[in-house]
Symmetry: C2
Subunit: 141 residues, 2 copies
DNA sequence: ATACTTGCAAAAGATTTGCCGCATG
DNA sequence: CATGCGGCAAATCTTTTGCAAGTAT
């Protein structure tokens, strides 16, 4: 059983064959394609179809929304007009996007996390969530 | 003449009545509606129509894209599936979005800016741009 | 049994584009 | 005058939804 399937059980998300298949594909995305993998809906539907070609894209959309709302996966908009997904991790991370290749690098920085909480507090808010994306070009030399 | 019109001249962006009107509306957005104003395309079209009701929404889209590509205005996606705009400023700022009211608070933090540059460098990149959005709920007390 | 899911196709919402007459520099 | 611009409607792209039939607990 894959990680996402386990999380569904924990959260009381009902499981069906379709959801199990989609869960499996997302769970295996990073394992198979590396930490730079953040597939979009179409890509996920393609991968899911290899396992069960009867799963419709509407189900993929519905399942992704469900998983996202349960905190099981994360959705990102990298300024392309479509969403990309990845499994949630214990360790929060942010992204650096290579503006030339589109490659996505993940990173973790504790100082930045703390600074954000402090800024929100100063403005009179509790930080619930945040999004930090760096856009950069590869440094020659 | 408004600020955006001036910037068009600097950048060699051709001016027309429609573009002048749209420039005026964006220039005046913060003056009229406060620093929390980040209108979307529909809202801008409504405001523009009050001045010249013959300007089509296609022109608003085309003009916003043009201004954005020239660095005259900034586009944001605050996770709503549509874009919001504001005039570019000399002083870079980030946004905190109230998850309950949708209110947008602008803030500037030099430490965070520096930290981002440092992180990008460590990963072998030159930071070209970035996006930081904090999502928070109002802190009672 | 009963409420939840799915597939399909249609709908919706945001944004872009082809065409052609018109304005700008 | 030539090139680019704007209006309109149709097209595109991503995502959502109504419906009828099937499925999980």
């Amino acid at each position: 059983m894959n990680t996402i399937e386990e999380k569904c059980k924990e959260k009381g998300v009902r499981l069906t064959d379709q959801r199990r298949t989609i869960a499996k594909v997302i769970s295996e995305s990073k394992m198979t394609f590396g930490s730079k993998d953040h597939p979009d809906v179409d890509e996920l539907h393609k991968r899911v179809s290899l396992i069960d070609k009867k799963i419709s894209i509407a189900t993929v959309y519905r399942t992704l929304k469900l998983f996202e709302e349960s905190g099981i996966i994360e959705r990102h908009d990298f300024r392309e007009g479509k969403s990309r997904y990845e499994p949630s991790t214990d360790q929060h991370h942010d992204h650096l996007i290579d503006i030339h290749s589109g490659e996505i690098i993940e990173f973790v920085d504790k100082d930045i996390e703390e600074l954000q909480i402090k800024i929100a507090k100063k403005l009179g808010y509790n930080l619930v969530d945040h999004k930090l994306e760096l856009y950069g070009s590869k440094n020659k030399k």
